[in-house]
């Protein structure tokens, strides 16, 4: 059979496209999925559940520097968040990864300060973290649904699926997200690694997940447990008896940048309160 070069190239091209497509289809289990047994899965009985998880932050309960350190390191140690330091011991801002941290008042609520405010007040510390918004910009922009809303209100991160495009970091108005610019294991000490939680790898975005893995086994988030009593309150906004719901209904609270419409679920209590 004789065939000219153009026809040969056309047939070769179409065959390779079809072959490639078939290999992709089989690799993504579209064809071979029939071998998988149907999974019978359920939730742990001891898991904490809610219709809308939220947090109330009472800064009046944070008294010493130690209170902040304990809260932050509880989260970062449990989740193997890397700690990159420059040779002089200061934080290397270039590779910094943080899920929860301390920020000054004028940084947490920019625009609220006035020219008469003393430096002392401007620098008053606040604990900031992902706000797990109702209508998060990060979820809206993620092209792979690697960040998404769970039915209980948590904005979750799937580190397996993230392609590292960092659109979510551009979209988040609160600067809550960190990217792994290098292998995070370079910023972890081997003896301090929590073996019950994975690390991440370079090239993925990460952030606070309201400790879904702890909620699944009946524990509150690590920061809530480690913070001074009553400093971080965690509960279900849709439960009329929960402490967070009572505070948010009856007391003065503010949230960061509410005018952007993202609906943050972290409320900062004004004036402090008398709750355990």
């Amino acid at each position: 059979m004789s065939m000219d070069r153009r026809d040969f190239l056309k047939i070769a091209g179409i065959s390779s496209i079809l072959g490639f497509g078939a290999s992709v289809a089989s690799a993504t289990n579209l064809i071979t999925d029939k071998k998988l047994l149907p999974p019978q899965v359920d939730r742990n009985k001891e898991a904490l559940t809610a219709k809308r998880w939220a947090m109330v932050v009472d800064m009046s309960k944070f008294k010493a520097e130690e209170d902040f350190q304990k809260t932050i390191s509880a989260c970062h140690t449990f989740h193997n968040v890397p700690d990159f330091r420059k040779p002089d011991g200061s934080v290397d801002k270039k590779f910094e990864v943080k899920w929860i941290w301390k920020a000054a008042y004028e940084r947490t609520f920019p625009g609220q300060e006035n020219k008469y405010m003393s430096e002392h007040v401007k620098d008053m510390p606040f604990v900031v973290l992902c706000n797990h918004c109702d209508n998060p910009a990060c979820v809206r922009v993620c092209p792979t649904k690697a960040t998404y809303k769970l039915p209980d209100g948590i904005t979750m991160q799937d580190m397996h699926r993230c392609i590292g495009c960092r659109f979510c970091m551009a979209a988040c108005p609160f600067g809550a997200r960190s990217f792994n610019w290098v292998d995070p294991r370079k910023g972890l000490k081997a003896e301090l690694i929590n073996k019950e939680y994975p690390t991440r790898t370079k090239g993925v975005v990460e952030k606070c997940t309201f400790c879904t893995e702890r909620l699944s086994v009946g524990k509150v988030p690590a920061c809530v447990e480690a913070a001074p009593a009553g400093a971080l309150l965690f509960g279900d906004l849709e439960d009329p008896n929960s402490e967070v719901r009572k505070i948010v209904t009856e007391k003065l609270t503010i949230r960061r940048k509410p005018e952007l419409g993202t609906g943050p679920a972290v409320y900062y209590l004004i004036g402090g309160g008398d709750h355990a």
């Binding site: 092209p143 699926r161 970091m169 988040c172 370079k202 993925v204």
Partner: protein, 395 residues
């Protein structure tokens, strides 16, 4: 027709080798970046997009600019553009290739790129960006190849190509609108949250792309027998003039809204870019200020040069104006736009960004690959035109 790219003079191969050197250096540094992570760049937690995404944004504009030739020729029968349309379409292919490469080198986990297709997210602008970019590449490859092939055979192109050509017009507008939406749909970043972002993008695209095309046509005229014609170049330069006016005007509008409204958040990015601001490290940061002023001065100068007919009609001065215009837009869109959105950060802190050497070499490498694609495609187009010179085809 591909074989035409493989036959060339010593100067042709010297140019290809020159580009190949940069492409190889870029590849070397990319392999290092792939292994070590994006920490090799100057990016950090506050400025998470930089040179790569800036170049991608700029090049989407260049790619869209082919439509400035397609509309007059195919929609309005402006026969003068008949010879030069192919140069615009091939430039679009080269530009879209560079866009895709820049996105690829910017990704943290490029091996997971299939996730965008496996888990499509219609609510995400980035998903749509990948759809429209791939589609535009396909359309231009199809249209360019088929029309050039029929020119070579000395026949009009097949009728079925017409709908694809018409499709490329709104599609070109869409690629740049969607890319603008990446910025203008994101809450919280004052520099980007403006309705005119897409309009600015399109205006700068329709100025910068054809300006590059004028320069390329002049170069092609020097190195081959393919001459677009002085009146064609003049027609394109008028398009550039109008588009550049729109672009400079829209930039002026941005300045007005920021400074007349007096809102600090809106003003701060402009102040950082054009004057400098105190950083959270205690250092006054104004590294980017000279770049931004160059961009604005070049923009004004090139606009004046394009508007004065005597200057515009002088091809030497016109080429100077086009170079200044291209550089101005490259700085403005390929660098200033990104940085203005990220600095100051969400906490009103100034943590500046500057590309590292590996980042710059990878960028140069992608540009080199893009120009190699352009060189090969132009070589094919020029050879076909030279062989069919004198034969008028009615499209």
């Amino acid at each position: 027709m591909l074989e035409k790219a493989l036959e060339g003079s010593k100067k042709y191969w010297a140019w290809v080798l020159f580009l190949g050197f940069f492409a190889l250096s870029g590849t070397y540094y990319y392999i290092r970046q792939f292994n070590e992570g994006l920490g090799l760049t100057g990016l950090h937690r506050d400025v998470s997009w930089g040179l790569y995404i800036g170049q991608f944004t700029f090049l989407v504009g260049v790619a869209a600019s082919a439509v400035m030739l397609v509309i007059p020729y195919y929609l309005h029968d402006f026969k003068k553009f008949g010879k030069i349309v192919i140069l615009g379409e091939f430039l679009a292919i080269s530009a879209v290739t560079m866009c895709i490469l820049f996105i690829f080198v910017d990704m943290g986990q490029p091996m997971r790129i299939m996730n965008v297709i496996l888990h499509p997210t219609p609510g995400s602008v980035m998903f749509w960006d990948s759809v429209v970019l791939s589609g535009y590449l396909f359309i231009n490859l199809l249209v360019g190849w088929v029309t050039l092939g029929s020119d070579k055979k000395g026949v009009p192109p097949p009728k079925w190509i017409k709908p694809w050509i018409y499709l490329s017009i709104p599609w070109a507008i869409s690629i740049h609108t969607v890319t603008a939406f990446l910025y203008s749909g994101v809450p919280g970043r004052h520099f980007w949250l403006t309705a005119v972002m897409a309009a600015r993008f399109l205006a700068s695209a329709f100025a910068g792309g054809p300006a590059l095309l004028i320069l390329l046509a002049m170069i092609v005229r020097k190195v081959s027998k393919f001459d677009a014609g002085k009146d064609v170049i003049q027609a394109v330069s008028r398009i550039v003039a109008y588009a550049m006016f729109a672009n400079v005007f829209l930039l002026g509008l941005e300045f007005f809204t920021a400074f007349y409204s007096g809102i600090p958040g809106h003003q701060h990015p402009f102040i950082y870019l054009y004057k400098g601001m105190m950083g959270s490290d205690g250092v006054f940061h104004n590294e980017i200020v000279p770049l931004m002023w160059t961009s604005s001065i070049f923009a004004a100068l090139s606009l004046i040069m394009l508007w004065v007919p005597k200057i515009r009609q002088n091809e030497g001065l016109l080429s100077l104006a086009c170079v200044m215009l291209f550089i101005s837009l490259w700085i403005d869109k390929g660098f200033g736009l990104i940085i203005g959105g990220f600095v100051p950060n969400m906490f009103e802190e100034v943590n500046p960004y500057w590309p590292t050497r590996p980042e710059a070499v990878i960028t140069a490498g992608v540009w080199a690959i893009g120009f190699m694609v352009l060189t090969f495609l132009y070589k094919i187009a020029i050879t076909v035109r030279e062989q069919t010179a004198g034969v008028e085809i009615d499209h």
